[in-house]
């Protein structure tokens, strides 16, 4: 902050002027620094506020569910109350199949639709964006009813109907999140691609998607996390099952359904099963999220 060695000597009034400016600047910078530290502290508080319910929830789930966890719990099929050997193996497999199929349906369509929103005629894009916002507000029970009317009444209760319902649920979130991620790509990258004479499709594939990938992955993971825990769409579509069921065109079981059915039974063992299932669900989401982020990081070859 000290002035470089000047060959000019300053006289009285100029010196005091300079002192005045320096003192003012120091005061103001000090004030801004304090304000910055306070604001940073406030943001830290908000972080704590957002983490507090999470910690409380997870602690509660662990507290009520950890006791039922065992290898047998993860591979056995459900048994009635008072019969040993209860498990959720079929529900775990069912969830994986249903969510996997739903992602296979929703991710490509979401990506394609968001590309349209980004590049298409303004009016139509605006309409689709609007439709996505409205669709994201639909209660999931309505989507379950819709899937019931479209799929269950044609091919019957099935895992596929559940996947369809979850895909419809995830679609608007994916469309919006993908579009936002791609819109955040700086214009310079577009210009560079255009300058090289590449086709727009090629630019999107090699440049825009590549750099927007972390954002796209985040948005899609958020949608998947939401869908994995949804119960209401599954109640009307997959029917549930007490056995291992691998065919998507037949009734299957899924973890949210087990949670919903068991948590509302009067028996302690059933409730413990429900909370154990919730814990397994959470672990599954953690594993998939971490894996997907790692893959995305590898694909973009940069650490975000």
């Amino acid at each position: 902050m000290s002035a470089p060695a000047a060959s000019v000597t300053l006289s009285g009034p100029q010196l005091s002027q300079r002192e005045l400016v320096r003192a003012t600047a120091e005061r103001r910078i000090g004030r801004r620094r304090v304000r910055s530290r306070l604001a940073t502290a406030a943001c830290a508080v908000t972080v704590c506020l957002s983490l507090a319910p999470l910690v409380s929830l997870i602690a509660y789930i662990i507290d009520r569910g950890a006791r039922t966890l065992s290898l047998g719990f993860l591979v056995h099929t459900p048994k009635p109350i008072f019969v040993p050997g209860n498990g959720i193996g079929n529900a775990i497999v069912g969830t994986l199949i249903i969510v996997g199929l739903a992602m296979a349906m929703a991710v490509p369509v979401g990506l394609a639709a968001s590309l349209f929103v980004m590049e298409g005629p303004r009016r139509l894009s605006g309409t689709i964006r609007f439709a996505a916002d409205v669709l994201s507000g639909t209660p999931s029970i309505a989507i379950g009813v819709f899937a019931y009317a479209v799929i269950v009444l044609t091919i019957g209760y099935s895992g596929l109907a559940g996947s369809f319902a979850l895909a419809v649920l995830m679609l608007p979130i994916m469309v919006r999140a993908d579009e936002e991620a791609m819109a955040a790509v700086p214009a310079e990258l577009w210009e560079a691609g255009l300058a090289l004479g590449t086709r727009r499709g090629r630019i999107v594939r090699s440049v825009v998607l590549r750099s927007a990938l972390p954002g796209i992955v985040t948005g899609n993971l958020l949608a998947m996390a939401r869908a994995i825990g949804e119960t209401a769409p599954l109640i009307f579509t997959i029917f549930g099952s007490q056995f291992y069921a691998l065919r998507p065109t037949a009734p299957m079981s899924a973890m949210p359904l087990v949670i919903y059915t068991d948590a509302t039974e009067p028996f302690k063992s059933a409730q413990a099963t429900a909370w154990g299932t919730a814990l397994v669900l959470l672990v599954l989401v953690v594993v998939v999220s971490v894996a997907a982020r790692a893959v995305a990081a590898v694909m973009t070859r940069k650490a975000r």
Partner: protein
């Protein structure tokens, strides 16, 4: 179906051959494939949306015919065949507003922390942790809210709020625990991950150059965040808030466990209420097929969609009148011209203010 707008006339270009190259691009099949993918995706999306609307309309038609427009202000009394949504609309708007009021500042602040202010080694895991909150099934959140939060609110939080001077209008009545207030808090917890995750993505998208420019002007870290990053991420933050609001309005099961299902209009934030989502989930499973009640419940879904449309439109109008839109950074207008750089308001606003 065009991938590029009409290329400029050949003669106007200084470099020969570019015009022909651009024209050739349009006829290449690969370029068409990209356009086909885009339109197919959009068409599928629209088809699903319309099919959903049609299905809901079909099932709700009897009740809508029975009630007409009065569904928006009448009460809900299935025994007397009165299937109005008035009370539920009020409940939905109150709980959503409360949830947004709580979640948006907290969420944007946390996102700013994760994107800008916190050291990298802590930001990554913590961001992921907040996003896991989105994966918890709403049944579990509802039960936790019922078992853990309801007694907490009934015994500590609500009596405390009643003692705060000046807020008596909002917080009067017997603290029962299950109330509009608790429903708003639970909704805020559920929409937090959406706000945090998508805001963070938007903030990290702000160009490094802008942030560095701010710092070069001796802005403090917070000033950079407030004047450069948040406005620069404004579009993404708005999208995050819109999605979060959608989730809050449509959330059913968790709200049903904590809102207390009151009958009349709630007279304070502490009184039990009902929202459209909670009413739908409460009445749906036992309603007999083909009955007026079942049709009425589906009509509630349509009312919710209508409110969602109204709120979204209102929000867009509000946003449009507040300040001129920052032009999008990608070539979103569909033309082939290189996009103009946005005017970068952030730099101008970094001032040496005390």
């Amino acid at each position: 179906m065009t991938t590029l707008s009409a290329p400029p006339a050949v003669s106007s270009l200084a470099v020969p051959g570019v015009g022909e190259a651009l024209a050739r691009q349009r006829t290449k099949r690969r370029g068409r494939l990209y356009a086909l993918i885009r339109w197919a995706g959009a068409a599928l999306f629209v088809a699903v949306f319309l099919a959903l609307l049609v299905t809901l309309l079909q099932q709700a038609a009897p009740a809508l015919g029975h009630m007409g427009l009065s569904i928006l202000w009448r009460g809900w009394n299935p025994q007397k065949n009165e299937l109005g949504a008035g009370v539920f609309i009020v409940g939905t708007l109150l709980t959503t507003a409360l949830a947004l009021l709580l979640a948006v500042p907290v969420g944007v602040g946390a996102a700013a922390m994760f994107a800008e202010l916190a050291p990298r080694w802590i930001a990554g895991p913590l961001t992921a942790m907040v996003e896991f909150l989105a994966a918890i099934p709403s049944v579990v959140v509802g039960l936790w809210g019922l078992i853990v939060l309801t007694p907490l609110f009934a015994r500590d939080v609500e009596p405390f709020l009643k003692t705060v001077p000046g807020l008596d209008a909002a917080f009067h009545g017997e603290p029962l625990g299950s109330s509009i207030l608790l429903a708003g808090v639970v909704l805020a917890i559920m929409i937090l991950p959406t706000v945090v995750a998508l805001s963070r993505v938007a903030m990290t998208g702000v160009a490094l150059a802008d942030r560095e420019a701010g710092m070069a002007l001796a802005a403090t870290r917070w000033q950079v965040v407030r004047k450069v990053v948040i406005p620069g991420a404004g579009r993404g933050i708005r999208a995050a808030v819109t999605l979060a609001m959608g989730r809050a309005m449509g959330e059913a099961i968790a709200v049903a466990f904590v809102i207390g299902n009151g009958s009349g209009l709630p007279h304070s934030l502490l009184s039990p209420g009902a929202s459209l989502g909670s009413a739908i989930v409460s009445s749906f499973s036992e309603a007999l097929p083909g009955s007026l009640l079942k049709s009425g419940v589906v009509a509630l879904v349509l009312v919710l969609l209508a409110i969602s449309v109204a709120v979204n439109v209102g929000g867009q109008i509000l946003m449009r009148t507040r300040r001129p839109a920052v032009p999008p950074r990608g070539p979103a207008d569909g033309s082939g011209t290189p996009p103009a750089l946005p005017p970068d308001p952030g730099l101008v606003l970094v001032e040496m203010q005390p």
